[in-house]
């Protein structure tokens, strides 16, 4: 068990789902009166275990609703598993979705600090890396403009630059590699490869098998609440393709 960064130990995740998404008092009340308020146990994973070693790039595949994103949430500590434990060693940086963690009224400069703080970076670190972030994002003079005026590509470039400026020990990526224009896409891919080469452990969810094959060392295939297969990316991707054809 040397250099294990993420240890997923017999994790079971069950949701207690109300049969409709009941959000308001009125709806609950009506549902209660008409006796429809039943909860269904919904199992996402049943007793899964695997671990990820330092510097590995692990892809997670599975059909829609298999629980890929749920697994990432459990690993990043946002969700508590029903049973079992997840142990992580090192700081986890999730790549946020487009613009979440940004405030549209603030300037790019202010948002770098806000978003950095949310991702758990220190003030000194951000001040030191500010120039680097600015340079990488190619925003130049736009950095002092409120980001509500940014294009989505600009916003994404900023988000990507903030998230990857640090060499996080664990980076969690949920389908966001196609960022910005052609030039920036190449650049961000290079940065990702750099990070992976630099010892960062990456967990990577994508529907694009090509990307997974290209970037991952190992792949975990989740299906029917279980790990259907775990192995090198070639093996698993081959099986996965067969499954769909």
């Amino acid at each position: 068990m040397e250099n294990v960064m993420i240890d997923i130990d017999r994790v079971t995740m069950r949701f207690r789902m109300a049969n409709d998404k009941i959000e308001s008092l009125k709806e609950t009340f009506i549902a209660m009166l008409s006796g429809r308020l039943k909860y269904e146990e919904f199992t996402v994973f049943e007793d899964i275990s695997f671990d990820v070693k330092k510097g590995e790039v692990v892809g997670i595949v599975g059909k829609n609703g298999a629980g890929k994103s749920t697994l990432l949430k459990i690993i990043s500590g946002v969700l508590k598993p029903t049973k079992g434990v997840v142990r992580t060693y090192g700081n986890i940086v999730p790549m946020l979705e487009l613009g979440s963690g940004f405030d549209p009224e603030l300037t790019g400069h202010e948002n770098i600090f806000l978003n950095g703080a949310i991702l758990g970076y220190s003030k000194e670190f951000l001040a030191e890396k500010y120039e680097e972030i600015l340079e990488f994002s190619e925003l130049n003079e736009f950095i002092h403009m409120p980001i509500r005026n940014y294009s989505s590509g600009m916003m994404m470039r900023l988000a990507f630059s903030v998230a990857t400026v640090v060499c996080p020990e664990i980076l969690i990526v949920d389908e966001i590699l196609a960022v910005g224009d052609e030039g920036f896409q190449t650049k961000s891919k290079t940065r990702m490869l750099d990070l992976m080469g630099g010892g960062t452990t990456v967990l990577f969810v994508s529907h694009s098998l090509e990307q997974i094959e290209e970037m991952c060392d190992r792949v975990v295939w989740i299906d029917e609440h279980k790990i259907r297969m775990i192995g090198t990316s070639q093996e698993v991707c081959e099986e996965y393709r067969k499954f769909w054809s």
């Binding site: 949701f15 959000e23 308001s24 008092l25 009125k26 609950t28 949430k73 990043s76 500590g77 946002v78 969700l79 508590k80 986890i92 999730p94 946020l96 979705e97 979440s100 963690g101 405030d103 009224e105 603030l106 202010e110 600090f113 806000l114 703080a117 949310i118 991702l119 758990g120 220190s122 003030k123 409120p146």
Partner: protein, 471 residues
């Protein structure tokens, strides 16, 4: 390491001692006792001329431990009178407790005569006493005594042993002594010892590697301090973004609200309320902070859904930072409050140093409410709209623009149970009367704040793991 902790604890303790000593001097006599004045009664009529033929006996029951002063309302019939009135106080066994002679020629027309009993009569709370008045005045040069019409059949006084319904116009002032003030140093020492004991215990636990609330708070603060600062400054920067006047609105808003309410309500309530502008403004500022911070805190979890589902941050940081951001606004709006206080000619005293105390209590209260409501908001989105109505009702249930005593006695509990009423009253006592509120007010404010905060925290903690599934 140990040295650092010893330093921290002793510094903390020194600050406590300094505050305790300073508070003793700021609080002054307000901490030790207060005077309770019974009502004088309406002067509904004048008794027959108070000559030497007449003896008046008025039974009364003091509500406080020590009887200090008695006021009696005389009339002089607007003429020169002569002679002496003798006032005596008897207890129910007929023993004389105090006696006083007053010179009739010195009486002012329609003005209460103040008899300061010195030293006060101790231990009279709840006893049946009698005030007996005799005169040696002659017809044509004697004063008259006002009486009030009876409020109920039990109100009786005696003129030459003949019972009459009603009471003479008099009041009595009792001194209520507070245990807290009497034993202030003992209380302060006891509380200090408690704090010290807790610190030592936390220190001991920490050494053994076990968590305490104190170590948890300091760990969270150390780790998330930068995030908390960023979130607060974000809220503060974006609050008035794109408005021309910007932060000036924090000044103007309460002032303008006050002006409108002053114009609308001044003719109705002005006469019964001392310093109406300050009365209005203190209520508006505190209540605005409450509605604003809780309204913001309410949506803190739902509004940050995209972050909460991605990054692990202790979730309570979101509602708490919202309340803290609003509190900056509160601090800014204290400036117009003090300005109005000075402009209306009220002297600002050292009692104002107690203002941060009530603000801190209010802050805790709002944090508690935000934690609770942001939790319910996750599961029931109706909370937002219900809160809109609830806060409107709350506005009217709190004496912001009307006098406190306008509420009928059977609905007084609405005020007693309303923490905001206590916070606002506390502030008004400081600003309008210029004195430190009585010890009870301190306790009520702190207790209601801690209780709400703890309740909110318990609810939040119980449900926080399920937030992610519902937002």
């Amino acid at each position: 390491m140990i040295e650092k902790h010893v330093k921290q604890i002793s510094l903390f303790f020194l600050i406590y001692v300094a505050i305790a000593v300073a508070f003793y001097f700021i609080g002054g006599d307000q901490l030790k006792y207060k005077y309770v004045v019974s009502p004088l009664g309406n002067p509904d009529g004048i008794l027959e001329e108070f000559t030497k033929e007449i003896e008046i006996r008025q039974p009364f029951v003091p509500t406080e431990e020590t009887l200090e002063t008695i006021d009696i309302l005389f009339c002089t019939y607007a003429r020169e009178n002569a002679g002496t009135v003798t006032a005596r106080i008897f207890d129910d066994s007929g023993a004389e407790l105090a006696a006083h002679s007053l010179d009739i020629s010195a009486l002012e027309d329609n003005d209460p005569y103040k008899w300061v009993i010195s030293p006060g009569i101790p231990g009279v709370k709840g006893k049946n006493l009698t005030l007996a008045l005799t005169s040696d005045g002659l017809p044509g040069s004697s004063p008259g005594i006002y009486y009030s019409a009876p409020e109920n059949d039990r109100q009786v006084f005696y003129v030459n042993s003949t019972p009459r319904n009603g009471r003479i116009c008099f009041d009595f002032v009792g001194k209520q002594v507070f245990l807290f003030g009497t034993y202030y140093w003992q209380f302060a020492a006891g509380f200090g010892a408690l704090i010290l004991a807790y610190c030592l215990w936390a220190f001991y636990r920490k050494k053994k590697g076990k968590p305490t609330v104190l170590s948890h708070v300091s760990a969270v603060w150390g780790r998330y301090q930068f995030l908390i600062r960023q979130l607060v400054s974000r809220d503060f920067k974006t609050k008035y973004k794109r408005s021309i006047l910007g932060y000036l609105w924090s000044f103007l808003n309460p002032l303008l609200t006050m002006t409108v309410q002053y114009i609308v309500f001044s003719t109705i309530f002005k006469s019964t309320i001392q310093n109406f502008p300050v009365y209005l403004l203190s209520g508006i500022i505190l209540f605005n902070f409450f509605t604003e911070s809780v309204g913001q805190g309410l949506t803190a979890i739902v509004g940050n859904a995209s972050l909460i589902t991605k990054v692990y941050v202790p979730k309570y940081i979101y509602p708490i930072t919202k309340v803290i951001s609003s509190s900056i606004n509160l601090v800014i709006s204290v400036i117009p409050l003090l300005l109005v206080t000075v402009v209306t000619g009220t002297r600002i005293t050292t009692a104002i140093l107690c203002l941060p105390y009530v603000f801190l209590c209010l802050l805790l209260f709002c944090i508690g409410m935000s934690l609770f409501l942001s939790t319910t908001m996750v599961f029931f989105r109706d909370t937002e709209y219900l809160w809109g109505i609830a806060s409107l009702i709350w506005t009217y249930a709190t004496p912001l623009f009307y006098p406190e005593n306008i509420i009928p006695a059977q609905f007084r509990f609405v005020q007693t149970l309303n923490p905001l009423y206590h916070y606002i009253r506390f502030t008004r006592t400081i600003l309008i009367q210029g004195v430190v509120p009585e010890p009870r007010a301190f306790a009520v404010c702190l207790f209601s704040a801690l209780l709400t905060c703890a309740a909110g925290a318990v609810v939040f903690k119980k449900f926080q793991d399920r937030f992610v599934l519902y937002i």
